[in-house]
């Protein structure tokens, strides 16, 4: 149990800091809202396209996010394969190539059917 004590302490400090600073900020900080502050990105550039009804992002972001998840998650299989590349040999290589071909076919479909176009 002693082994974990520093971790718990650190975690406790971190949490306390978050809570305290949020409360303190809302109590102490000045509140002057303007248009720029309410925007999604406070860099001054308007998001395209605009959120519908103020605040909600358009569906296109979700679409891209979904595509990202699908292709991103495949790396899960690449890492263990890479770690044991030697032991798995040709079999592993062929298997991984086939796997990547399949993923690229999905990518090709996405691309040809306009999933990657913003408008």
């Amino acid at each position: 149990m002693e082994l974990y004590a520093p971790i718990f302490v650190l975690g406790g400090i971190g949490a306390a800091f978050v809570v305290v600073s949020m409360i303190a900020g809302s109590l102490l900080g000045p509140k002057r809202y303007n248009r720029a502050k309410l925007q999604s990105y406070e860099c001054g550039i308007d998001p395209t396209p605009q959120p519908v009804g103020g605040g909600r992002f358009t569906i296109k972001y979700y679409l891209t996010a979904m595509l990202f998840i699908v292709f991103d998650i495949e790396v899960i299989f690449l890492v263990p394969w890479a770690v044991h590349l030697d032991a798995l040999g040709v079999f592993g290589l062929v298997a991984m190539v086939l796997f990547l071909v399949n993923v690229s076919i999905a990518y090709a479909y996405e691309w040809r059917r306009g999933g990657l176009e913003w408008e």
Binding site: M1, I59, V70, D72, I73
Partner: protein, 99 residues
């Protein structure tokens, strides 16, 4: 530390997810609760893998992550489509089919 505690934690997380599915109306949140349940399963798998000293549980956890991602994509697509039709993501609004 008794590794069984992780299993208990997994069970608790799983229960939280299950309860969330029952009490939340927003389809996205219902769905997130399902993902929570899957993650609880993953926690249980890796804990058991540790306890048994074999690797199967970890391998399963990897696969579960991929499956969960695929499920996210399919699920979000469906929920999004319904939202566009009904302008509502509440699961309770979709009840034309009943009795």
């Amino acid at each position: 530390m008794d590794p069984m505690n992780y299993i208990v934690l997994a069970a608790i997380v799983f229960t939280i997810g299950a309860v969330g599915v029952l009490v939340r109306r927003n389809a996205i949140i219902v769905f997130m609760c399902v993902e929570l349940m899957l993650n609880a399963c993953n926690l249980a798998f890796v804990s058991f893998a540790r306890m048994h000293g074999n690797i199967e549980g970890q391998v399963i956890a990897f696969f579960v992550m991929v499956v969960a991602a695929a499920e996210v994509v399919v699920g979000l697509a469906i929920i999004m489509q319904v939202f566009r039709t009904r302008r509502s993501a509440s699961v309770d609004d979709a009840n034309l089919l009943r009795h």
